[in-house]
């Protein structure tokens, strides 16, 4: 049997949600074809303001990526606009000449931004704020120009203005009314909003009508009807949207302001439906996402059932939330006082909080919340149900007003049927069930499983609160985990895990696949990713010098004046006349300003200019001491049995063997070790990442000590008989530290976090794991590159790239 054809015109949120609802019911019944004007998959238009404000990037607001279309066998013509509907032949024709037959046609053409027909509105630099293209244009304009003017002090205009401020533009807002957002806010809330936005740096020109746009080719300013003018390099018109019903109208489908639909989303023509902003139901064309989603559900039902079922769509209660950082605004229903209404008001000018609940006939009919919007789901629910509030106290209607009581949880008092996410119609019960049944532990997971917080994101705090409340204390710690840096929401552990499971091999790949918010990361995540990649792929991964902190890139320690210090390796802190002579000669030759003995038993040559480093190394001809690296620094030793009258063991011999074995190994942070030959501990083994103390016939190993910022004594890890056992234990210990600790986490903090008992159970008790760790350590050691000082001095290109200080003189 031939599959039925569905054609969707308009690849936006309403249309795609309808398709999703249809596929939920009938995954295989239809052949689906979609025409979309914009060259993108379905994205979250509501969050464009977040992109503009720098909180998200374009990739993050994609709701259905191209893979989704492919997976669902949907043919998407992105960038090809449907141009003609042939009702007789039941065919849609596109601009690029495609012809597509349909059994069911869904029109979801959305809205267009309304451009004021002002003289000069066609000049360069005058744009709307509606799609990705507009957003990108604003971002690129901000790089060249300084003065932006937004026409329109409504929701969209203010979100655009906030974004332009974030882009470092001087931002002026022109509004034709005396109050901002006058269609959603009453005067007190509007005034508070204006004050707060002014404090953020926005400038307002109220009650001004624009007469024309000035400029030659590009906009240079605005002229108002009162004769005054304003300079501008960029003008964003955000005065409203108009339903896009042009194609439907031209095809003989009944339209008014928008395409007329009945309760089942049917248009005047059989088998043609309209949904979303382009549809007009009972005289209303909705411009908000929740009604569109409700309509999508009804339409999916209608198409799948091939008949009208149930009551269909009965209109929606609408509400508004402003997405401007630092300002919380909510508005719904009748918010102005009328003759037959009374209101509950809370107005705290110190805290910047204003709440008004409008009541008619003992029922809540509208509300405005400013500064604190936590009660909004509850109020919406009361409005929807028409709940009789006779006898209910103020704190039941506005729970956040309860003395101290609500500090704990915003969602605790909510009933299971109350809505958390208004956009997607997800109630508290749905979310709690998903958390419990599917074992969800993060807001991201809740988003994926329930659709809650997936559209405007306004309910994200409620979802987080509900998550914490549902999981109780067990998850308390997990929820507070800090992300790696501002470029991602993922923690160090999550990034490490993704690198391993997804087999990622390059920094850029990690950032792309894990949806980094910045294009090239920052000084925190780049070195961390470079480290994790190196540990995951010891043989294959090529270290990225541009992701290394200066010291590790230059293989020397930068000093406050921009010069460097050079510390050659002296294994076990043992030197000889040859080495000392060489160091003395180099110090003379290069006029080294300071020679200093370090705490790690070697010599530091300080104050060497960058350009001299390669030749200093060449002349020294000693291995790098790695005094600059997240790596093994030194193995400090005491004199031991050869000379000391108390020494019980060969501490120098063991120290040198250890330093030679683990030399040049990358670790999460620096690693310091020591070997003392008796409990007098002359090598300070008690405050090292790994300290070894010789006793009669055995070695004691102490782990997680630290002599630095957080002074901490090491804890006894184990006591072993032979030096082989010492080496094996160090291998297992260091390898587990390398794989398990976060980048830049010292062993003391790592052990403090995971517990010494845990480390013991992995590297001592679990024989199999111990063996595997040692084997992986050996692989890592085999793959180590040769000494960096040697390889750089013999590589002319690297010398030039990193150390050359080129000089250019101009003859005057």
């Amino acid at each position: 049997m031939r599959k039925e054809n569905i054609v969707l015109i308009g690849n936006g949120m309403a249309g795609i949600r309808t398709i999703e609802e249809i596929l939920k019911k009938e995954p295989n019944r239809f052949t689906i074809t979609i025409f979309g004007k914009e060259p993108y998959p379905n994205y979250n238009r509501i969050l464009l303001s977040k992109v503009l404000q720098g909180d998200s990037d374009i990739n993050e607001i994609i709701l259905n990526d191209y893979d989704w279309y492919e997976e669902k066998n949907i043919t998407l013509y992105a960038g090809d606009e449907a141009e003609e509907i042939d009702k007789k032949k039941k065919v849609v024709r596109s601009r690029q000449g495609r012809e597509c037959p349909y059994d069911h046609l869904i029109i979801a053409t959305g809205s267009n931004a309304f451009m004021l027909p002002l003289p000069g509105a066609d000049k360069e630099g005058v744009i709307a704020f509606r799609d990705i293209k507009d957003t990108e244009e604003m971002i690129s304009a901000s790089k060249k120009y300084r003065r932006a003017v937004v026409i329109g002090g409504g929701l969209l205009g203010l979100e655009a203005a906030r974004g332009l401020l974030n882009l470092d533009m001087e931002t002026e807002v022109v509004h034709n009314s005396s109050y901002l957002m006058e269609r959603q806010l009453d005067e007190p809330a509007s005034r508070m909003l204006k004050n707060d936005l002014e404090a953020q740096g926005m400038r307002f020109h109220m009650a001004k009508d624009t007469e024309k746009i000035l400029g030659k080719k590009r906009v240079e300013g605005l002229k108002f009807k009162d004769g005054s003018t304003l300079e501008a390099d960029l003008v964003v018109m955000a005065v409203g949207i108009r339903p896009n019903a042009v194609l439907a109208g031209a095809s003989g489908i009944d339209t008014n302001r928008a395409i007329l639909v009945n309760d089942h989303m049917e248009t005047s023509v059989k088998d043609i439906y309209a949904v979303g902003e382009c549809a007009e139901h009972n005289g209303i064309a909705y411009g908000l996402v929740a009604p569109l989603y409700e309509q999508g559900k009804v339409l999916a039902e209608r198409i799948c059932a091939k008949a009208r079922t149930g009551t269909g769509y009965q209109g929606s209660l609408t509400y508004t939330q402003l997405k401007v950082s630092g300002v919380d605004v909510f508005s719904a229903g009748t918010f102005q006082d009328e003759e037959d209404t009374k209101a509950i008001r809370v107005h705290d000018e110190f805290e910047g909080i204003y709440k008004k609940v409008v009541v008619r006939d003992n029922r809540v009919v509208g509300a405005v919340l400013y500064g604190e919007t936590a009660d909004s789901p509850r109020l919406l629910e009361m409005m929807k149900k028409g709940q009789d509030i006779t006898g209910l106290g103020k704190t039941i209607i506005l729970p956040s007003e309860q003395e101290g009581g609500e500090a704990g949880s915003l969602t605790a008092a909510m009933e299971p049927f109350e809505t958390i996410c208004g956009c997607n119609g997800v109630c508290k019960g749905d979310i709690v069930e998903a958390i419990q049944k599917d074992g969800l532990t993060s807001v991201e997971e809740v988003k994926k499983h329930t659709n809650a917080a997936r559209s405007c994101g306004g309910c994200k705090p409620l979802v987080a609160d509900l998550l914490a409340h549902t999981l109780g204390d067990e998850a308390g710690e997990g929820l507070q985990e800090e992300p790696m840096c501002g470029c991602t929401d993922l923690t160090h552990e999550e990034v490490g895990e993704e690198i391993r499971t997804k087999q990622l091999t390059l920094t850029r790949e990690v950032m792309n696949v894990l949806h980094w918010k910045t294009s090239e990361g920052c000084s925190k995540c780049r070195p961390a990713i470079n480290y994790y990649l190196g540990v995951a792929h010891p043989k294959e991964y090529e270290d990225d010098p541009s992701s290394r902190f200066v010291n590790e890139r230059m293989h020397a320690n930068i000093q406050n004046d921009g010069t460097y210090s050079v510390v050659p390796r002296m294994y076990g802190g043992v030197t000889n006349p040859d080495q000392l002579r060489k160091i003395a000669e180099v110090a003379d030759k290069y006029d080294v300003p300071l020679l200093k003995l370090t705490g790690g038993q070697r010599i530091d040559m300080l104050g060497i200019p960058k350009a001299d480093l390669p030749s200093v190394w060449e002349d020294l001809n000693m291995p790098s001491g790695y005094a600059y690296a997240k790596s093994l620094r030194t193995v400090k030793t005491c004199v031991g049995e050869d000379f000391c009258r108390f020494g019980t063991q060969d501490s120098i011999g063991l120290g040198i063997a250890i330093e030679k074995k683990y030399d040049r190994l990358n670790t999460p942070h620096k690693v310091k070790m020591a070997v003392s030959a008796c409990p007098r501990n002359c090598a300070e083994s008690g405050i090292k990442d790994l300290g070894i103390v010789g006793v009669e016939g055995a070695w004691e190993l102490y782990a997680g000590g630290n002599g630095g910022v957080d002074l901490k004594g090491g804890e006894l890890l184990t006591k072993v008989q032979t030096t082989e056992e010492v080496i094996d234990t160090i291998s297992a210990y260091l390898q587990y530290y390398r794989e398990n600790a976060r980048y830049l986490e010292r062993t003391s903090h790592w052990i403090g976090r995971v517990g010494l008992e845990h480390v013991k159970s992995v590297i001592l008790d679990n024989k199999e794991e111990r063996k595997a760790l040692i084997a992986r350590m050996d692989t890592a050691l085999e793959a180590l590159p040769e000494d960096p000082w040697k390889s750089i001095t013999s590589n002319e290109k690297k010398r030039e790239e990193l150390f050359e200080q080129k000089k250019v003189e101009v003859l005057q």
Binding site: K143, T518, S519, E520, G521, C522, S523, R526, P527, D544, P545, S546, S547, R548, F549, V550, N551, R553, M554, I558, N560, G562, K610, E800, E801, L802, E804, Q805, K806, K807, V808, E809, V810, Q812
Partner: protein, 107 residues
């Protein structure tokens, strides 16, 4: 000449002398300047001195349009030399022209 504020274009290097992600320090008339080659092959130049404590920006980690000072991790724009919030300050930025394979700087 020295008293005028007019600038002159000075040839400093060939494009291939710069490496993406690794800044290069070049002294022009004794002034140390940090040069950056972006991933989109643009060359940028700012004074090799952080507005904080004069750290050599040519030794920092580069990410997109920013360099992180090696001394105290200040984030400086390689476009206009401005320090990024919460830090405040600015180092001089130079205009750069590329003609063929030659890089010129306005001094």
């Amino acid at each position: 000449m020295a008293e005028t504020t007019e600038t002159t274009a000075v040839y400093v290097a060939d494009v291939e002398e710069f490496t993406k992600g690794i800044p290069k320090e070049i002294f022009v008339n004794g002034e140390s300047i940090a040069f950056f080659k972006t991933n989109s092959d643009k060359i940028r130049a700012i004074r090799n001195s952080c507005p904080h404590k004069g750290g050599p920006l040519s030794q920092g980690i580069v990410s997109g349009d920013y360099v992180f000072c090696p001394l105290h991790d200040w984030k400086i724009s390689t476009v206009d030399g401005k320090a990024q919030a919460p830090d405040v300050g600015c180092t001089h930025s130079y205009s750069v022209q590329v003609e063929g394979s030659s890089v010129y700087i306005q001094i």
